[in-house]
């Protein structure tokens, strides 16, 4: 280890120390929500094949459990995990410590109080019934203020960066940090504060939902992939010069793709046509990103076997490609008219939230947390259980929702099939989904136990101190040395 390297290590250790508690708090809350949301999701899924399950009480009726589960997963797990990961990565890539982290506790507190109140509001009957905006109006301001703190911290950390270059992961993080509050505030104003009329409401809702998935969760997952691949493999991103093109093209077209959700709806046809065209154009950046990421991974089977982070990131990349493919397919009128409103549309969003985003966050956590706490993951069996259940769950649910949804669509399209028969035929697939969700939930419990052993001040006393291999030095050709792989 020469002196520049040890300097770099010392600097990283200082950054990690400054980010330790905010990251642990955000990630810990995220995990609690992941389990809670997963349990609610499982209940909702069971209710579809066993309708009497928990139907006696208004608080647990299916129509309330579904949005409560979705909100817990998106705002509880998804946003908290993204905050933890995003703040840490922004500090690392900007080569600067996370200053005044105490304020981030305030943000974490308010955010989680807001989400809790919102979900209780949904269960208590104050849902607005707008997709992903179901939380009652009284939590909007709490969430926005809490987010403002996090967003300002991310952007400030970026603007006091000590690096020459801005790396791909930073574009995605920076963009997402700006897009979310705008999307959320505009949707709140146009739907709840000063509602627009008629079918403009579903349009605003579709624009928001598509933006949240495409301009928040996907950028977070890609930021992780662009960072961890070169970091762990010690080689730069393949064809990195294409990455800026992919970034601008991806986010620029995604921003217009929201209308594709309204195909066949009573809105002017140009809206869904524009959305469909945007989804077609997305093929280019998805291919470029695949070249970037899979090209970097090509031939690195041994490294994949060694690194749990890489394996999770690989699932995330495949999930992203699959989700983009499904989005593309759902813009084709012939396909959309069959599978619209079925389990396949549910699969589209699930692929982004779980297969793309959540797996990337798991991968990131396995890398980040030992470095922040200085401790090893205590149980490698639990790590394996988590990865195994995530991989199995992703396969089960993708197959189940795709095939079950296609069967559902085929039957719906045939007017001679009575509706009751469709329900009967789907019972198997609903049960199949419950099994898939249960598999995922088991993995999440395994992860939570390991997390407690590494992060909780009391339970982690007996956990071994981590020994890190020096990360492989980036083999940058001189010309690329300025590309800013921090």
């Amino acid at each position: 280890m020469n002196s520049t390297e040890s300097n770099a290590r010392a600097e990283q250790a200082e950054i990690d120390a400054s980010a330790k508690w905010p990251v642990l708090v955000f990630f810990g809350s995220a995990l609690v929500w992941l389990l809670l949301g997963g349990a609610l999701q499982l209940i909702a899924s069971i209710q579809l094949h066993t309708p009497t399950f928990l139907s006696a009480c208004a608080w647990t009726t299916h129509g309330r459990i579904v949005p409560a589960a979705q909100n817990a997963l998106v705002y509880g797990w998804g946003m908290n995990a993204a905050f933890a990961f995003g703040l840490w990565l922004m500090a690392r890539l900007s080569a600067t410590t996370l200053r005044h982290g105490g304020w981030l506790f305030v943000a974490a507190k308010f955010w989680n109080v807001g989400v809790t109140l919102g979900i209780l509001g949904i269960l208590g009957g104050y849902s607005t019934s707008f997709e992903l905006l179901e939380m009652p109006r009284y939590v909007t301001l709490i969430l926005l203020v809490a987010y403002a703190l996090v967003g300002v911290w991310a952007v400030t950390t970026f603007s006091i960066r000590n690096t020459e270059n801005v790396y791909a992961s930073q574009w995605y993080l920076f963009g997402a940090a700006f897009w979310f509050p705008w999307l959320y505030a505009i949707a709140q104003i146009m739907l709840l504060k000063a509602p627009v009329r008629g079918v403009l409401q579903p349009l605003v809702n579709a624009w928001y939902v598509h933006g949240l998935y495409g301009l928040w969760f996907i950028p977070m997952a890609l930021a992780a992939a662009y960072y961890f691949l070169p970091k762990i493999l010690g080689k730069p991103i393949a064809n990195y010069y294409l990455a800026p093109l992919a970034f601008w093209w991806l986010v620029g077209t995604t921003a217009f793709a929201g209308g594709s959700r309204l195909i066949g709806s009573p809105v002017p046809v140009w809206i869904s046509t524009l959305g469909g065209a945007a989804n077609f154009l997305l093929v280019v950046p998805v291919v470029v990103i695949a070249i970037n990421l899979l090209g970097t991974l090509a031939g690195q089977t041994a490294a994949l076997g060694r690194s749990i982070t890489l394996r999770f990131i690989l699932i995330s990349i495949l999930g992203f490609i699959l989700a983009s493919g499904l989005n593309f397919a759902l813009s084709i009128r012939g396909f959309a008219q069959v599978v619209q409103f079925t389990l396949v549309t549910e699969l589209r969003d699930w692929l982004i939230l779980y297969a793309t985003f959540s797996t990337a966050m798991f991968g990131a956590a396995y890398f980040i947390l030992p470095r922040l706490t200085g401790r090893e993951w205590r149980s490698s069996a639990l790590v394996k259980a988590h990865f195994g259940s995530a991989a199995l769950g992703v396969i089960l649910l993708t197959v189940g929702l795709a095939y079950g949804g296609y069967v559902q669509g085929q039957m719906l399209a045939d007017a001679k099939v009575p509706f009751g028969e469709i329900t009967q035929a789907l019972t198997f697939w609903f049960a199949f989904r419950s099994v898939g969700l249960l598999v995922l939930l088991i993995g999440h419990v395994a992860f939570l136990i390991n997390f407690a052993w590494i992060a909780c001040p009391i339970c982690s006393n007996e956990t071994e101190t981590a020994q890190f291999r020096t990360p492989p030095a980036l083999n940058l050709p001189k010309a690329h040395a300025a590309e800013g792989h921090a």
Binding site: Q47, L48, P51, A56, C57, A58, T61, H62, G63, V66, P67, G125, S127, T128, S129, F130, E134, S159, E164, N165, V166, W171, F174, G175, F178, W179, I186, P195, R197, G198, V199, L200, P202, L203, V204, W207, L215, P244, V251, A255, F256, G258, R261, G264, P266, P268, I271, L274, R333, Q337, V338, F341, T342, T345, L412, A413, A415, G420, T423, L426
Partner: protein, 222 residues
């Protein structure tokens, strides 16, 4: 990429353009859509909900019915909505302008409800049907996976009195024990009023051609 300002401006422009291009231009096109006055009937369509039905809309919203039910009829040739008798015609943007929250939905685990209250399409869909459906879904729709909304009803002991005016009629295994009656609460009555109000009966002459399938070019024609 080195320039933080360029990044910021690009990020800002993308969202601004998408907002203006998608939401603002749709608003320009549809925001001032007005009711249509039928020249013969001299009535404005679409008509507003009754007060009770409007309360029922809030119950519909609060119970999350939108999780499983859509409220949009797709046009002939795009799915089987019309053949399934979910509507006599496709839904138009104008149908929704009087609704304070428009829940067109995105899942059809249950059937579409845009015309659930239309007795022309569903001759059985009277108030009794909806009460039975909500209290014990299996009693009128065997095999359905709709949950029971029994919590919207109260069970009263008759104690020798005549059954109440609003008591719901249930037979067989779903009927209450002898000497008891099932009475809908105010919320159930509002919800049923809302469901019965769901029907787009009026066909706007201005919109009639909008959703017709495009004419196929005749052979040899231009």
């Amino acid at each position: 990429m080195k320039n933080g300002l360029a990044l910021f401006l690009g990020v800002f422009a993308i969202l601004g353009l998408s907002w203006a291009g998608l939401l603002l231009s749709a608003h320009r096109q549809l925001g001032s859509l007005s009711q249509f006055k039928d020249p013969v009937e001299e009535t404005l369509y679409p008509q507003p909900l009754s007060g009770l039905a409007n309360q029922g809309r809030l119950v519909y919203q609060d119970l999350g019915c939108v999780s499983c039910h859509t409220q949009q009829v797709r046009h002939e040739g795009f799915g089987s909505d019309i053949e399934r008798k979910w509507g006599q015609r496709a839904s138009y943007a104008r149908d929704y302008i009087r609704e304070s929250s428009v829940l067109i939905g995105q899942s059809r685990i249950g059937p579409d409800l845009r015309n659930a209250g239309s007795t022309e399409l569903h001759s059985y869909a009277d108030a009794d049907y909806f009460y039975s459906l909500l209290y014990a879904p299996q009693s009128v729709a065997p095999g359905t996976n709709m949950p029971s909304y029994a919590f919207l009803f109260e069970t009263h002991a008759l104690a020798g009195r005549q059954p109440s005016y609003g008591a719901i009629k249930l037979t067989g295994r779903y009927a209450p024990a002898a000497g008891y009656e099932i009475v809908p609460t105010a919320r159930a009555r509002a919800l049923v009023a809302y469901l019965q109000s769901l029907k787009d009966t009026y066909d706007y002459p201005t919109e009639r051609n909008l959703n017709a399938p495009a004419e196929t070019a005749k052979e040899g024609g231009h």
